[in-house]
Amino acid sequence: MIEEIFQQFRDWIDNRHEYAKEWKEKNTKKIIGYLCTYVPEEIVYAADILPVRILGSHEPPTVTEPYIFAMFCHLCRDCLAQGLKGRFNYIDGIVEGQSCLHLRQTFNAWRLHIPTNFAHYIHIPHGIQNPHAIPYLTQELTKFKKALEDWNGKKISNEDLDKGIKIMNENRELMRKVHEFRKLENPKITGLEAMEMVLSSQMVDKEEHSKLLNKLLEELPKRNLQRNTGTRLMIIGSEDDDRVFMKNVEALGATFVIEEHCTGSRYLWDDVVPQEDRLSAIASRYVNRVPCPSKDWPEFTRIQHAVKLAKDFNVQGALVIQNKFCDPHGIEIPPLREALKKVGVQTYPLEFDVTVPWGQFRTRVEAFLETLTGLEELF
């Protein structure tokens, strides 16, 4: 049973477009694509629209050069490539929540070159540590809500917003409960499985996803993974949905017990705390959530959070990944490594591109694991 659940997560990822098309036909509702997890899906659900995250396919880029200068990260180019190739031709609109220049460029290229009925950019504040960010974002969300209402021809009531908040909070809470099983001496799920759980939640109807999570939570206590945990690793950095890399590293005698990036725990760590003013409640969540480093200044609060995660999940070593050209994450690499080192967590940096050179990375990761566990005997 439990293997079927994980297989379902995998199937949803591998067949995400087929799923979305079938969902649309069955429900006769709209679908919106979004690029960054700063888009408040609560409001999209409140509008009775399905939000799906646009991600890349890890194929060498062939179609984006005329639209995005190649010094921008592979994620932003790979996302645009999916649109240019028509793989998201079922979405009715696109929304972006301000995070980095890279994804903003994808949004604008998409808006300009791919037929779309609805395109909205939410100016999520960058200064999340200043006290004016929440009232400001509340106003931005009011604009977003109205734009959705005008486009969809349907008012969004407080009850609708409550429904959207409930859907999102429930899904995040269930995934956090699953994460508790990663703290165990012998974790009940692998890092790859955790990634597939979170990734699929960004691609399918969350109510359906949550039903499966409830089943998973019933089954997990009984699960015996039948594998050595090996070195307890953390993976931290830019957006990462490279499942092959996760699988390969975990085959080297290690388990990713936690990750800190936006296709992992960063996506699900914080809930909306209900308030009378629903939009203000949602704004508070997106200002106070674990931040993308692009918004995390003047204090390094994300790094403090990562240190806490490393302790809570008993991490032995961390792979610090940076998508090439991802400046916000690249800038934080030395302070992050220093902070983790202070709590006894050794780190190793890896630069990711659209495809990962596993041959080289394998040698490097093996060497890193050896430094954490002691050298293997030669013979």
Partner: protein
């Protein structure tokens, strides 16, 4: 071969050079003079710290990064230090130059002389629209802390978008105004000084006038022959990036405007054999400014760019559709509240902020320059050193080509010479000029 137009050196040149040199010296010596020094970006609201007193000196990071880039030996050392510290080499080149200077504990003067000890600012005053702006100084603060020096930092979030056709909504303006108002209280707290609103009002008015004057100077380049070339403009616009809020900046721009108007009246050219007018885009590869001299051999003059015009200069579309220097507010501000609101409303129209959000806005402004400045072709610098000013550049290329404007894109880096192929670029550029029907003068 006879020269087509008369040329003569700028009379103001030495004065401008001295002013720039003094700026770097003042920052270095601020503590000896009993003053304060702060660090931040060229786009920061520099008129706000001016309310702390007349002995407050700043160093703005981008021009400092560009100065380092001009002196390639020191740049290489900065980059080595930053890479050795574990930072990726793909980050903003100015930022890496600046951090390198901290890591090496060296300071470069305007003349290229490197002295020991990077002067630590008393506080950091920055704003944030590009992914790197706040992070740049967050790390600078962290690097100083590692050396045992605590530097307080304040950063204003200005990432509220851009509006071409109508004023930005009040809630967006107020978001910035409130942060600046809090910032004044913060400045008092971290410096222990009493804030002087009169000095603030003066500084705001200076900044508004300086940035308007620079736009007026750039507008004079619509004349044929152009009285200024872009390489010279780099040495002059820098005053606005360093000290746009200071009276010295207003004074020198006023003098410069008078001199350029005189050059226009007398038909004095920047390039004696001007016959083909181009503009560029984004910062140049600072270590290779000689490329402009190579262009002159073909009778090509670079009139500037949206970057040189709009990084500091303030512009606005007029009802007749022309792009022109932005009108001054009717009166000088008299109170703190008026001054803060006025500088925010003035600043949110900065042309170089438009393209961060709307590639169409930048294309529209470039096309206006092409038309009004009688431009024959555009050189687009795909600048690996600055993601902020390279964002959407490929879209701008489409927009220009669609409008029938010849475009020469080239890849480089404003501050890291390892990423600029000078001979290769020159060879391609020569071929481009030949495709435009140009030959080297005298051939």
């Amino acid at each position: 071969m006879n020269q087509k137009y008369p040329t003569e050196p700028l009379k103001i040149w030495n004065e401008a050079k001295l002013l720039r040199g003094k700026y770097y010296e003042n920052y270095l010596d601020a503590h000896k003079l009993g003053g304060l020094r702060w660090a931040g970006g060229a786009w920061s609201f520099s008129s706000i710290p001016a309310g702390l007193g007349e002995d407050v000196y700043s160093i703005t990071g981008e021009p400092h990064g560009a100065t380092i880039a001009f002196f390639k030996d020191f740049t290489a050392k900065c980059h080595e230090a930053v890479e050795a510290a574990g930072f990726p080499r793909t980050l903003c080149a100015y930022m890496r130059n600046y951090w390198g200077s901290i890591l090496l504990d060296k300071y470069i003067r305007a003349d290229g002389k490197v002295v020991d000890e990077h002067p630590v600012p008393d506080f950091i005053w920055q704003d944030h629209i590009c992914c790197s702006h706040a992070k740049w100084y967050q790390v600078a603060k962290w690097l100083e802390e590692k050396k045992g020096k605590k530097v307080p930092m304040y950063c204003v979030d200005v990432s509220v978008g851009y509006s071409m056709d109508k004023p930005l909504e009040d809630f967006k303006i107020n978001y910035i105004v409130r942060q600046l108002s809090d910032g004044i209280e913060w400045l008092e707290k971290v410096t222990g000084r009493t804030y002087n609103d009169k000095l603030l009002c003066e500084a705001v008015w200076n900044e508004i006038n300086a940035t308007r004057l620079w736009a007026e100077i750039c507008a004079l380049n619509q004349n044929v022959p152009a009285p200024l070339d872009e390489k010279t403009m780099y040495s002059l616009y820098v005053m606005g990036t360093l000290m746009k809020h200071r009276k010295e900046c207003v004074d020198i721009y006023r003098k410069l405007k008078t001199e350029i108007e005189d050059r226009v009246r007398r038909g004095i050219a920047a390039v004696g054999n001007e016959r083909f007018r181009i503009i560029t885009d984004t910062q140049p590869p600072w270590g290779f400014l000689k490329i402009f001299r190579e262009m002159e051999k073909y009778g090509v003059v670079s009139l500037g760019s949206l970057y040189t015009f709009g990084l500091i200069g303030m512009w606005k579309y007029r009802p007749d559709g022309t792009w022109a220097p932005k009108d001054l507010p009717l009166e000088k501000p008299q109170t703190r509240e008026e001054a803060v609101k006025m500088i925010v409303e003035w600043t949110v129209d900065r042309p170089e902020w438009a393209h961060f959000y709307q590639p169409e806005a930048k294309t529209k402004m470039i096309l206006s320059i092409v038309k009004q400045w009688k431009v024959d072709a555009v050189l687009l610098h795909y600048n690996r050193g600055c993601e902020g000013l390279s964002v959407h550049i490929a879209e701008n290329r489409h927009g220009l080509l669609d409008a029938g404007v010849p475009v020469f894109p080239f890849e480089g880096n404003m501050g890291d010479e390892r990423e600029f192929d000078f001979p290769g670029t020159l060879a391609r550029l020569t071929a481009f000029f030949e495709s435009m029907g140009l030959k080297k003068l005298g051939e």
